[in-house]
C-alpha cells in the first residue's frame, strides 16, 4: 500500500523534472549549450505568478499565462544579450556566461523579493482523487497530465511544422541548415522562447506541489532536470520525459527504502551506471565516429 503512495509521489516529482528537462534538452539539442540559467527562469516564473496572484488578485490561470509570456520574453532577451554574441566562441565561454546569468537572476530576485520563503498558493483547483486508500492530489494529476500533453504537442510541433523541422535541421548541422536557407538565429531564438515558456509552466507546477518560493528555488530542480535530460539521452524529447519520470521515482523510492539522507548519492549513482552501460542515455542516439 505504502509502496504505491511512494510511487505516486515519485511520479509527481518526476513529472516536474520532466517538464524542466524538456526545456533543457531542446536548448541543448539546438544551441549545443548547457543552459545553467534554465532553473532560474523557473524561479522567475514562480515569482511572476506569486506577485500576480497575491498582490494583484489575478485569476490563477491568467497568472500562469502571463508568467509564460514573461518567461518567454526573458528567455529570448537572455539569448539575445548574453548567448548570441558568443555563438562562435568556445562552448565553455557560453557555459560560464550561463552561470553568470544564473547568479544575476538569483541576486536580482534576492534584492527585489527578499530571502524569506514565500508560500505559494496552488494554481491548481482540481480536487484530490481517492482510489481505495490512496489519495492522489490535484497537483499530481495536473502535473502528470500537463507533462504528457506538453510532450505530445512538442513532438507534433517538431515533426509537423516548418519551424519544428527547421529546429531539427539546425540541431543536426548548423552550417548546412544555414545553406538550406533556414534562419538559424531565429530558430535558436524560438527554441529559447519555447524552453523558457515551458520553464514558466514548470515553475507554476513545481511551486504548487512544493510551495516554498525563494530566489534559490530553481537551482536544485534545474540541476536534477539536467541530470534527467542526460539520463534519458540529451537532445531527445521522449528521453527527457522518460528520464524525468524515472529520476523522480528513483529518488522517492530510495528515500523510502534505503536512506533519506543518501537519496542524492543514489540518484547520481544510478545515473552513472546507466551512462556506463549506455553512454548516450536511455533513448539517446548513438554517435558514429568520424576520423
Amino acid at each position: 500500500m505504502s509502496f504505491l503512495s511512494y510511487l505516486i509521489n515519485g511520479l509527481s516529482l518526476g513529472s516536474v523534472y520532466a517538464i524542466i528537462a524538456l526545456g533543457y534538452t531542446m536548448v541543448y539539442g539546438i544551441a549545443k549549450m548547457l543552459n545553467f540559467a534554465h532553473g532560474d527562469v523557473i524561479m522567475v516564473g514562480g515569482f511572476a505568478i506569486y506577485t500576480l496572484m497575491n498582490s494583484m488578485g489575478v485569476n490563477p490561470i491568467i497568472a500562469v499565462l502571463i508568467s509564460v509570456v514573461i518567461c518567454t520574453a526573458l528567455g529570448m532577451a537572455i539569448e539575445k544579450i548574453a548567448y548570441k554574441p558568443l555563438r562562435k566562441a568556445s562552448p565553455l565561454a557560453v557555459l560560464i556566461t550561463a552561470i553568470g546569468v544564473s547568479y544575476l537572476l538569483q541576486n536580482l530576485a534576492l534584492l527585489i523579493f527578499g530571502s524569506d520563503a514565500k508560500l505559494f498558493s496552488s494554481v491548481v483547483s482540481v480536487p484530490a482523487a481517492n482510489i481505495g486508500a490512496i489519495s492522489i492530489t490535484g497537483e499530481t494529476i495536473v502535473t502528470i497530465v500537463a507533462c504528457i500533453i506538453i510532450m505530445i504537442v512538442l513532438t507534433l510541433f517538431i515533426k509537423k511544422t516548418k519551424a519544428g523541422q527547421a529546429m531539427l535541421a539546425v540541431s543536426e548541422d548548423k552550417e548546412a541548415a544555414e545553406l538550406m536557407g533556414i534562419n538559424v538565429n531565429a530558430t535558436i531564438s524560438l527554441t529559447f522562447a519555447i524552453g523558457s515558456g515551458l520553464a514558466a509552466i514548470a515553475g507554476a507546477l513545481l511551486c504548487s506541489a512544493y510551495p516554498a518560493l525563494t530566489p534559490y528555488t530553481g537551482s536544485m530542480p534545474g540541476i536534477k532536470a539536467f541530470v534527467a535530460a542526460v539520463f534519458g539521452g540529451i537532445g531527445s524529447i521522449p528521453g527527457a520525459f522518460v528520464g524525468g519520470l524515472l529520476l523522480g521515482i528513483i529518488e522517492n523510492l530510495s528515500k523510502a527504502y534505503i536512506s533519506s539522507q543518501m537519496a542524492d548519492a543514489i540518484v547520481f549513482s544510478v545515473l552513472i551506471i546507466v551512462l556506463l552501460v549506455k553512454p548516450t542515455g536511455i533513448l539517446g542516439k548513438k554517435i558514429s565516429e568520424k576520423v
Binding site: 554574441p85 558568443l86 536580482l108 548519492a265 549513482s269 551512462l275 553512454p279 565516429e289
Partner: protein, 353 residues
C-alpha cells in the same frame, strides 16, 4: 632557451614576485587584514585552477566535479591531523604528511572515478563528474567516524550508533564535519605547493606522457592508431589533477578551524567557479589560471563596499568579461593597446640594437 622554458620561468617569476611583495607588505604591516587573510585562499584556488587546467586544457575533458577531489583531500588530511594532534608530532612534519596523504587519497579517488568516467565523452563526461562530486559531498555528510581505545568506529547514520566507549571522541561528525583542525596553513607553504603544482603540470605537459595526452585531446582516433594507450594516459592526467586538488583541499582544511562539506565549498558550484578561473585565464594557460584565480578570489571581497549589490555586480562582471573577451571589436582594441604588445615591441627594439 626554448620558448616553453622561458614561459615557465616567467610564471615562476610572477609567483615568487607576488610572494615577495606580499611578504614585504605583511612584514611592514601596510597590508589590510582582509588581504592578509586572503593569501592562503588565493593559493588554494590557484592550485585548484592549475590542476583543473590539466584536465580541461591539456586533457581536453570538461570536469564539473573537481571540488569533490578537494573535498576528499580536505577531509583525509584534516582527519589525519586530528588523530595526530595529541601525539606531539612537529606541526610542520604533521602538516606535510597530511598534505601528501590528502593528495594520494584524492589521486586514488581520481583513478577509481577515472576508470569508468573517462570512457565517456563530452557533456556526458561532464555530467558524470558532476554526479561523482555530488556523491562524494553527500557521503561525507552522512559519515561519522569516532576513535576510542579499541580503534576507529564508522557509521553512516549518527553519532549514537558509533558505539564509542566513554573515552572515545567523534572526529568526523556528519554534516558538522571536523572541528578543531589545527591552523597549519601558511602563505609560505601555500606558495611552495603552488610552485610544486606548476612544476608538476608544466613538466607533465612537456614530458612524453604529456605529449601523448595532448595527442589524444587533438585527435583521439589518430592517437589510438599510432599505438598510444588512451586509457592509461587519460587516467594518468586525471589522477595527477585529482591529487593536486587533494593537496589544495589539505591547505583549505588547515586554514580554517572547521570543515564542513557544504554545497558552497565542495559542491558543483565550487567546481564551476574553478572552471570559471580556468576559462577566464585561458584554457591551457597555466599563468592565466593563476592570475584569473587570484583576481576572482579577491574580487567579491573588494566589492564589499557595494554591500547588498555585491553579488549582483559580481555576476554582471562575469558576464561582461566573457562577452568582452569574445567580442571581435574589443579584441582589436586591446591588441592595439595591450601591455604585452608594448613590452613586446620594446624587446624587439632591444634585440635590434
Amino acid at each position: 632557451m626554448s620558448k616553453q622554458l622561458k614561459s615557465n620561468l616567467i610564471t615562476y617569476g610572477i609567483i615568487i614576485a607576488f610572494f615577495a611583495i606580499m611578504q614585504t607588505l605583511v612584514g611592514t604591516g601596510t597590508i589590510s587584514s582582509l588581504f592578509k587573510g586572503l593569501l592562503v585562499p588565493i593559493c588554494v584556488y590557484t592550485i585548484m585552477a592549475v590542476s583543473l587546467n590539466l584536465t580541461v586544457g591539456i586533457l581536453g575533458e570538461l570536469s564539473l566535479g573537481h571540488a569533490g577531489f578537494m573535498c576528499v583531500g580536505a577531509f583525509v588530511s584534516a582527519f589525519f591531523s586530528m588523530c595526530m594532534k595529541e601525539s606531539g608530532m612537529n606541526s610542520i612534519v604533521r602538516f606535510i604528511i597530511a598534505i601528501i596523504l590528502g593528495a594520494i587519497v584524492a589521486a586514488v579517488f581520481g583513478i577509481l572515478i577515472g576508470i569508468p568516467v573517462l570512457r565517456l565523452r563530452g557533456d556526458y563526461l561532464a555530467i558524470v563528474t558532476l554526479a561523482f562530486g555530488e556523491i562524494i559531498k553527500n557521503i561525507v555528510n552522512v559519515l561519522y567516524v569516532g576513535k576510542d581505545s579499541s580503534g576507529f568506529h564508522i557509521s553512516f547514520t549518527d553519532t549514537a550508533s558509533l558505539g564509542l566507549s566513554s573515552d572515545g571522541v567523534v572526529i568526523i561528525k556528519g554534516p558538522q564535519g571536523i572541528t578543531g583542525t589545527p591552523n597549519d596553513s601558511t602563505f609560505l607553504i601555500g606558495i611552495i605547493i603552488l610552485i610544486i603544482t606548476v612544476f608538476i603540470v608544466t613538466n607533465f605537459v612537456t614530458s612524453r606522457s604529456g605529449r601523448a595526452v595532448m595527442a589524444i585531446r587533438d585527435n583521439r582516433i589518430a592517437a589510438e592508431s599510432v599505438g598510444i594507450n588512451i586509457s592509461k594516459y587519460k587516467l594518468m592526467a586525471f589522477a595527477i589533477s585529482a591529487g593536486l586538488a587533494g593537496a589544495a583541499g589539505a591547505l583549505y582544511a588547515h586554514n580554517l578551524n572547521t570543515l564542513n562539506a557544504l554545497p558552497k565549498n565542495f559542491g558543483y558550484n565550487m567546481s564551476i567557479m574553478i572552471l570559471v578561473y580556468v576559462v577566464l585565464g585561458g584554457i591551457g594557460s597555466i599563468r592565466g589560471s593563476i592570475i584569473a584565480a587570484t583576481i576572482l578570489t579577491a574580487l567579491p571581497e573588494l566589492l564589499r563596499g557595494f554591500s547588498d549589490y555585491r553579488m549582483l555586480i559580481y555576476s554582471i562582471v562575469l558576464i561582461a568579461l566573457m562577452l568582452i573577451s569574445n567580442s571581435p571589436k574589443a579584441k582589436m582594441f586591446f591588441e592595439k593597446y595591450s601591455i604585452k604588445q608594448l613590452i613586446g615591441t620594446k624587446k624587439a627594439q632591444k634585440e635590434e640594437v
